[in-house]
Symmetry: C2
Subunit: 385 residues, 2 copies
C-alpha cells in the first residue's frame, strides 16, 4: 500500500515510454484530505535538477496537494527549457486537479542531461494518464513507477494510535549524505501543521537517509517529501510522531542499502564513545567512503588497519593509538594494536557489523554503507545513469 | 641510477625475507657528501606508523646522514615494541656508519599491524647487509627493494648547470593527498642549506604528490625525504632548483599514477578559471574521488553529468549552471547543458584528459587520478595490504 495506506491519499503509477523497457515511469500522489500540509528536504548538491529548483519554491508555504515523480530522465542540466518542463508538469497537474501549480511538487530521476521535447511530451502525457488512474490503493503502482536500477520497490507502513504513516522510496546507488540520493514520498493522515511536519521530517532524515552512504556520491535530484492529509482526525503527540517518522525513514534507508547496486555486504558502522554526535558521524563516514576498506569487506578480509587509516584522516577528538575495533562481534584491534586473530572473524554473511570505540565521550552514531564489488564497477561502468 | 645519480651518495637494496617472495626488501641510502642536509614531509594522517613518528623527530634539526627503508611490513599500530624496532633500526645504522641515530630516517611499508620480533630481527639484519652492500651505483637496487605491489620501479634523474637531482618512489594504490601515499627518496648534490631544502621540498610535494589522488585513501606511512650532499660544490639559483625539484616530483607522481593498482585509465583533471588555486584543487579532487565518474571512465563513458554532480558538492565559487566540461578535447557540456554528442569522445586511450572551466577567476590546478576498475576491486579485496 505504501503511500496510500494512510487515509486521504490517492496514487497511481503509469507507463508512458520514458523507460525503454516499457515499465511504469510516472507516479502521481494526491492529497485528498482535509489538510494540505507538506514538508520536503532536498539534496545539498549545488548542482540541482530542475524539479529540485521548482519544488524548493513550491514547498515554501508548507502547502502541498500533489506530487508527480518520473523515472527515465533527471531533467538536470537541461537549461531553461528543462525548468519550463517542470513548471508545465506542475501546471498540468494543478489544472486537472483544480489546484494551484504552486502546491504541486515534482521529482525526476534518471540520466543527467535528459530533458528534451520528447521527454516533456511524455511526462505531460504521464500526468494525464496518472491522474485518470488515481485510486485509493494506487500506492503499490506508484512505488513501481519510481524505480530506476532498483531490483525491488521500497515501501513501508506504520500505524499507531489511530494514525498511519506510509512511504515509498527509490534508489540503488549514488547514495550519499545530505541526503542519501533517492526520491522518497511519505504520507500521513495524522493532524500536523506545516511547522510540525517540517521539524519531524528534518529530524527523521538527519538520523536515517543522511547516514546512508553507499558510495559517497551525492545526486542532483534528491528529494524527500512528506504529505499530511489529517484525514484520521487525530493529532499525535509530537515526540511519538517524530520517532515513528524516524523509524519509518530508517526502515526505508535500510531497504535502499540492501538493494545498493552491486553490493554483497550491508555494512553497519557504529561509532561509540565519540566526543560529539557530529564527530561520530564524521568518523563513521570516513570509513564508509574508504574504497580500500570497502574492497576488503568484499573480499571477506577483516582489515582493521584500513579502518584506522580511514579514521586517522578526520579531525574528530580521539587518540588513534587508543581505539578498539570490533568486526562481527570480534575485537580485532584494541588500544591501537592487534587483538584477536583475523581468522576468528566470519565475514561471509551479508550483514556486516563494524564497531569503532573511540573512548572519547558519550556520543554514538550509526552509518550504513556497502562494500565495493565487481558488480558495482560493472553496473556503473556499463550503463549511463 | 636514481638516488645515486647525484655525486656523494651510496645506496643498496638487499633481500632479508620480509617479503615472502624472496625479493629485495631493505634499502639503504647514505649521504657521503660534505653536507648532511635533509628535509622531509610526512603523511597528514593522524594514524601514523612508528617510522613516521621517529622520522618526524629525526628531521627536526635538518641533518640527515642516511635513510633506511623496508617493504614487507608497515610497523604501524604495533605499539611501543614497534617504535623500539624503528629506534633500533636507526641506532644500528648509525653505529655501522659512525653517525648519530638522530641523523637516520626510517621508512616502512606493507601490512598495518605487522611488526613483531621476527620483523625486527629481519629489518636489523637488513641494515647490516645493506650497509655492507653500499655502492655508488646502488640506486637501482634500492629502488627495487622498496617496491610492494608496484609492477615496476619508479626512478628519475634530472641534471642542470652542474648539479643533479635523483629520486626513487614506491606506491601503487592508497594514493591520496597529504601526501599521495608512498615512499619517496630524493637526493641532490647541489649546495643547499636545510631551510632551502625544506622550502623546495614543500613546494614540490604541494604541486605533485599532493595532487595525485588515485583512490582517495591516505596511508599511515607516507614519507618524502630529500637528502642534500652538496658534492657538486654548486649552489643553484633558488628558483631553478625549486622548479627542477617540482618537475622531478611530478615525473615520479605520474609514474605512480600510471602504475596504480588495477587502473586502466590515467586521468588528468585540469580545473581552469577557478577563483583560487585551493578551490581549483578542491573541485578537481571532488571529481577524482567520485566512484561513479571513475567507473564511467573505466566503461569509456563520457558521463559529464557525474562531473557536474561531483563538483556541485564543493564550496568553491562558481555557477554550476555556467560550467564547461571537455573530455579528450571534446566540449561535452557548456553553460550547464549538453554540448557535443557523447559519441564524439574517444575514451579508449589510457591517457584521459578532463578539463573543467569554472569561469570564476584566473587560477588553475591539475589533479591526477585513475579509473575504478574490476582489477582495482580484485587487487584490494583478494590481498591484505
Amino acid at each position: 500500500m505504501s503511500v496510500t495506506a494512510p487515509a486521504g491519499f490517492e496514487a497511481a503509477g503509469v507507463a508512458v515510454g520514458l523507460k525503454s523497457s516499457g515499465k511504469p515511469d510516472v507516479a502521481v500522489v494526491v492529497n485528498r484530505g482535509p489538510l494540505k500540509v507538506g514538508a520536503a528536504v532536498f539534496t545539498s548538491n549545488r548542482a540541482k535538477a530542475n524539479p529540485i529548483l521548482w519544488s524548493e519554491q513550491a514547498i515554501a508555504d508548507g502547502v502541498v496537494e500533489a506530487i508527480v515523480l518520473n523515472s527515465g530522465g533527471a531533467n538536470c542540466f537541461t537549461g531553461s527549457f528543462g525548468f519550463q518542463t517542470t513548471h508545465q508538469t506542475a501546471e498540468k497537474t494543478a489544472e486537472l486537479l483544480g489546484a494551484g501549480a504552486g502546491d504541486v511538487l515534482v521529482c525526476s530521476t534518471g540520466l543527467i542531461g535528459t530533458g528534451d521535447e520528447v521527454f516533456r511530451a511524455k511526462v505531460l502525457h504521464g500526468v494525464e494518464e496518472g491522474i485518470a488512474a488515481l485510486s485509493g490503493d494506487g500506492g503499490e503502482a506508484a512505488s513501481l513507477a519510481i524505480m530506476t536500477t532498483d531490483s525491488r520497490p521500497k515501501r513501508v507502513v506504520h500505524s499507531e494510535d489511530g494514525w498511519t504513516i506510509g512511504g515509498m522510496a527509490k534508489g540503488a546507488g549514488m547514495l550519499a549524505p545530505g541526503l542519501a540520493t533517492m526520491l522518497v514520498v511519505l504520507t500521513t493522515d495524522a493532524v500536523l501543521d506545516s511547522a510540525e511536519a517540517d521539524a519531524a521530517l528534518r529530524h527523521a532524515t538527519r538520523v536515517s537517509f543522511d547516514r546512508l552512504d553507499s558510495d559517497g556520491c551525492m545526486s542532483t535530484n534528491d528529494q524527500v517529501s512528506l504529505l499530511v492529509s489529517g484525514a484520521s482526525g487525530i493529532r499525535p503527540q509530537a515526540e511519538a510522531f517524530r520517532e515513528a517518522l524516524a523509524a519509518v525513514c530508517f526502515d526505508l534507508a535500510e531497504q535502499l542499502q540492501s538493494d545498493a547496486e552491486g553490493a554483497s555486504h550491508d555494512i553497519r558502522i557504529e561509532v561509540t564513545h565519540a566526543a560529539s554526535e557530529d564527530e561520530a558521524v564524521d568518523v563513521g563516514r570516513s570509513v564508509a567512503r574508504n574504497n580500500l576498506f570497502k574492497a576488503a569487506i568484499f573480499g571477506n578480509d577483516p582489515n582493521w588497519g584500513r579502518v584506522l587509516a580511514a579514521i586517522g584522516t578526520t579531525t574528530a577528538r580521539f587518540d588513534p593509538y587508543d581505539v578498539d575495533v570490533w568486526m562481527n562481534g570480534v575485537r580485532v584491534c584494541t588500544a591501537g594494536g592487534p587483538d584477536r586473530p583475523r581468522e576468528d572473524v566470519d565475514l561471509t554473511p551479508r550483514a556486516t557489523d563494524l564497531v569503532i570505540d573511540l573512548k572519547a565521550g558519550d556520543a554514538t552514531a550509526v552509518i550504513l554503507t556497502n562494500d565495493l564489488t565487481h558488480e558495482y564497477v560493472h553496473e556503473n561502468s556499463a550503463y549511463s545513469s
